[in-house]
């Protein structure tokens, strides 16, 4: 599976079952390669669910630790990123449930500061904040994976197990909604 590259080279790298097998064999270099290939996608996916930078960062660590721990249980089906996304999604939902039980407002507080601490560019920070505020979870997933990671709609449909038509319509609707919100906030 071709995965969008990291921030440095920007080209797509191949994430294959053989790489997963090397990781399962305890190859540290293979794990580092796996991390480099998938870190942006995993963070982007987690951020679209929890809408919090710090929580997404913690969950990102947990996700890769779980991947290392559970790599023996991976069944090669040509979809390693989907398997990693499944682990990340489960961890994110567990964290959301825990936070909901404790009636914590940590996420709400974090949401407002998602771009403040780590994103220096004001416009970039504004766009990301608006995307996290006005889009629902499915729209966030599709928009972030497509726009920031360069996943094709067909790949997103496969990764998120959503019909391709739904992905397309949802994306178009989300972009219009975000565009309108960003411009209203900047010029309104």
């Amino acid at each position: 599976m071709l995965v969008p590259g990291n921030r440095d080279n920007g080209k797509k790298e191949r994430l294959s079952d053989s790489l997963m097998q090397k990781v399962a064999d305890g190859d540290r270099a293979a794990f580092e390669q796996l991390y480099c290939i998938t870190q942006n996608s995993v963070y982007c996916f987690l951020l679209s669910i929890v809408k919090s930078h710090s929580t997404a960062e913690d969950l990102m660590q947990d996700t890769y630790l779980s991947v290392r721990k559970s790599i023996q249980h991976y069944i090669p089906q040509g979809k390693p990123l989907a398997w990693i996304f499944t682990i990340a999604r489960n961890l994110a939902y567990m964290e959301l449930r825990r936070a909901q039980r404790q009636e914590s407002s940590d996420f709400a507080e974090e949401e407002n500061h998602v771009g403040v601490d780590v994103i220096s560019n004001t416009i970039d920070n504004l766009v990301l904040q608006k995307a996290l505020e006005i889009l629902n979870e499915q729209e966030r997933n599709i928009v972030l994976l497509h726009v920031t990671q360069g996943f094709k709609f067909r790949e997103i449909s496969s990764l998120l197990d959503i019909p391709i038509g739904t992905v397309l319509s949802c994306y178009n609707r989300a972009i219009k909604k975000l565009y309108k919100a960003v411009n209203e906030d900047r010029f309104g």
Binding site: R7, R68, R98, N125, A131, L144, L178
Partner: protein, 438 residues
């Protein structure tokens, strides 16, 4: 801002915000460290763990307590079965026997080798009645089998249910063994007074209740003396004193037997002839104690009169009562009582038997054995064809006994050693035994 610029800004924002946690991940070398990492990253998990542990402990405790109480049998009702053996069964709400105990030696014999725990009440009753039949406490040949079934429970419907269940089981067992019996039922709640009385006299609560009710009807009767009597003796006493049992017990089965016993001994006991094949140690239907001071009834008096005239409870307790030997019919002139194998009668003046012989007598008038046992195979010679040396029938002896005397017809010797009579009837009946033909 165009859409393209917006997308670029969004892409830059995410790429900028993406953390690099590879170093932290690689710092974790093993699985145990993974657990510690998770705990450190989430301090609130300690609270969750503590709550889960508390819930687990509470659940385990409840499970343990639940199992403990489930294992402990709950006694819902007490069912007493009294013939002379007194057996008390404690049953749970599911009619399962959870505890049982024998209240006299006869009951110990009946329950010997029997395990009734966790057994259905009907099955347990079936086994008990079969054991009583096997041991001779109930006999197909006895017309006066009497069984008292008592159920102690505050719930009237439950009492009726258990009475019906036990009675049906008893009835079925008796029918299978071609035995008839009178079943007396009572189902009143047991009071503390009855319980203490039962404990003092070591009898079942059902019998204690029955005895106290009888004693209340006649002030001349001593409840302690009544407690020592068997159920059959109690029913006889009820007949003597003409006590109305309708308010005390209910009679389930009326046996089609003569009203009066066929045979009673001279001192009021109503033991009947015992099957010679039965071991002498085996008890009879009504192993009652015989007051020694009771005068010998004249031959003209019937057996029932003898019982009625006695009217006094036996002095010995049921526990000390040996299973009475069945005493054969004897003719006053021949004074011979024997089994088909040829038994020389034993002279025992203390064991005189008054015999009332009627048309319905089930005993052979010659050998005194049950007709079903004798089958007219005895010599019908009123005991005159016995070898005077060995006591066997002349046809059996045929001059081969140690006396080396040729067989001849003669009256049997008045005294004969018991061990020389292989077919004797346990040395109970005597030559003095009188038969009264009715």
């Amino acid at each position: 801002m165009t859409k393209k610029e917006m997308k670029q800004s969004l892409r830059n924002a995410v790429l900028t915000a993406t953390p690099d946690v590879l170093g932290e991940i690689l710092a974790v070398q093993n699985d145990s460290s993974v657990v510690e990492f998770k705990k450190e990253s989430n301090p609130k998990s300690h609270i969750i763990s503590f709550r889960m542990a508390s819930c687990a402990i509470a659940a385990a405790l409840m499970l343990f307590v639940g199992i403990f109480f489930m294992v402990q049998p709950t006694v819902d009702s007490i069912v007493s079965i009294d013939v002379n053996p007194s057996i008390e069964l404690s049953v749970d709400p599911q009619d399962t026997v959870v505890k049982y105990r024998a209240l006299n030696e006869d009951a110990v014999n009946v329950l010997d080798g029997m395990d009734l725990n966790r057994m259905d009440l009907g099955t347990a009753t079936n086994l008990i009645i079969e054991a009583m039949l096997h041991d001779g406490y109930l006999s197909a040949d006895s017309p006066e089998n009497t069984i008292l079934i008592s159920v102690a429970n505050d719930d009237t419907e439950k009492v009726q249910h258990l009475q019906s269940k036990v009675t049906n089981s008893v009835d079925t067992t008796l029918k299978q063994n071609h035995t008839k019996a009178t079943i007396l039922q009572q189902g009143d709640p047991v009071t503390d007074d009855v319980k203490s009385f039962a404990k003092e006299n070591n009898i079942s609560v059902g019998k204690a209740d029955f005895v106290k009710k009888i004693a209340e009807t006649d002030q001349n009767l001593n409840s302690s003396d009544l407690a020592a009597m068997s159920i059959k003796e109690l029913t006889s006493l009820v007949d003597i004193h003409q006590i109305d049992l309708s308010g005390i017990v209910t009679t389930e089965i009326e046996p089609e037997v003569p009203e009066e016993p066929d045979f009673v001994d001279s001192d009021g006991d109503d033991n009947i002839v015992k099957n010679p094949g039965v071991d002498s140690s085996k008890p009879e239907n009504n192993p009652s104690s015989v007051p020694e001071q009771e005068p010998v009834q004249p031959p003209a008096s019937s057996g029932s009169d003898a019982v009625k005239d006695s009217g006094i409870p036996p002095q010995t307790s049921p526990e000390s009562s040996e299973p009475a030997e069945e005493k054969p019919l004897e003719n006053s002139s021949s004074a011979v009582t024997s089994d088909p194998a040829g038994t020389t009668p034993i002279d025992d003046p203390d064991q005189k038997v008054l015999i009332e012989e009627g048309d319905s007598s089930p005993y052979c008038e010659y050998c005194g054995s049950l007709l079903s046992v004798c089958e007219s195979k005895c010599d019908q010679s009123e005991g005159k064809q016995y070898c005077k040396y060995c006591g066997q029938l002349l046809s059996v002896c045929n001059g081969t006994c140690p006396g080396a005397q040729p067989p001849e017809q003669s009256d049997p010797p008045a005294e004969m050693k018991l061990d020389e009579n292989p077919g004797n009837i346990d040395g109970i009946v005597t030559q003095d035994t009188v038969i009264q033909k009715g």
